[in-house]
């Protein structure tokens, strides 16, 4: 699974970090960091993260 985030849309709300904490986190500067190739076991959480992103900035492929 490959995850990508449109950082031009991302507003760093961190809803993804709540939905899939193993894949997305907000760092100390308040900016998003994420694992672009998370384990397949995270698929359900990553799909949830993509669904809840207030600006729909998350894409899942593969």
């Amino acid at each position: 699974m490959r995850v990508s985030v449109d950082l031009g849309l991302c507003e760093d709300h961190g809803q993804c970090a709540i939905a899939a904490p193993a894949v997305f986190r907000i760092n100390d500067d308040g900016k998003l960091e994420y694992d672009a190739e998370p384990a397949d076991s995270e698929l359900e959480n990553v799909e949830e993260a993509a669904d809840v992103c207030p600006v729909q900035a998350i894409l899942i492929a593969g």
Binding site: E11, H13, G14, Q15, I18, I26, G30, D51, V52
Partner: protein, 401 residues
Amino acid sequence: MTVTASSAVPHLDVTDPTFSITSDEVKAAREQNWYATTPYGIAVLRYDELSRLMKHPKLRQGSVAWPAHHGVTTGPLAQWWQSWILNKEGEEHHRLRRLMNPAFSPKLIGGLVPRFQALGNELIDGFHRSDSCEFISEFADPYAARVIAIMLGIPEEEWPIISREAATIGLALSVTIRSELPRIEAALGHLYDYADDLIADRRAHPKDDFVTTLVNASRSEDGKLSDTELRDGIVLLIFGGYDTTRNQLGLAMQTFMNHPDQWELLAQRPELGRAAVEEVMRVNPTVRWVTREVLEPFTYQDLDFVPGTTVHMFSESAGTDPRVFGEPSFDITAERKPHYGFGGGAHHCLGHFVARSDMSEALPLLARRLRSPQPMPGATWLPDSGNTGPTRLPISFTPGT
């Protein structure tokens, strides 16, 4: 509270009953500095700083102590307030959010768009042949309440129950919380009964809808929502989604009456409905401001943030910040940075996909069918603080096709 800043810091008395967040006083304060002191805590006035602080991990949502500040510490309202997702933080909050997210999914809401359109047209049909209406009681109020009814899968004719009970609970957010406590708690009780019936029904007869999704919500590490949490989720939809949407539609009409060229544009180009919602919420949000409370000390810009300090986020002030948005303007075709009318961070409005969808359908419909709306005498307004909007908005218009 420690303030260590070198340039002049304005002071704003947010406790004055005549305080208005959209006043020239606030705009002048914004030009003096990025924040102002207030009788309790500080107010953030400019866009970049609000953007950062709104989502800052060392700030918690600020309203948890609101009832206690007014002497309400026991009883059903105090209990509901404590258990409400908005007033939770950390893992307790995140678990509730994860379990409630699917019921508010944009995927679930997309299928309801035709019903929102039908609802909007039905309501307009009711007054279309006159040349005037009271926009709140004849459109905004029933529209907002019936959208909730649609979401809950209850008969739309039951919308006055939602309207009455949710409006009463809204008193909990105003300074009348203590004096109106018995009424507020009675309304809460009615909504709980309503929610319990809905939950029991969907357990017995699952449907492809909001309540069933909530009832079935389950994640391996989070378990499921308890009966109390389910009730709170339903009351949250009702309380969080009705008042705000009704107000925001009223404010949208106010803004567009001041910008008739934009209303005409929206009538010609209904695909601008979504952009219209965003632009209205930028300059005229119903939630005028949200609060945070400092949890851990940190320094930002020239200011030391001390735990316990209240931080008022003035969303409308940030939304009209000339540093980002230039001179005051209202343009539904402009590319804009995002507004903060739905809050931000962990507590970003859970229902925003619903709100955006139903308002994006309503506004172009109204623009096409109510041409050249003009204010008539007799408008009444909530105070311009907290959640605001018109309670009565008589308008005249030319019926469109």
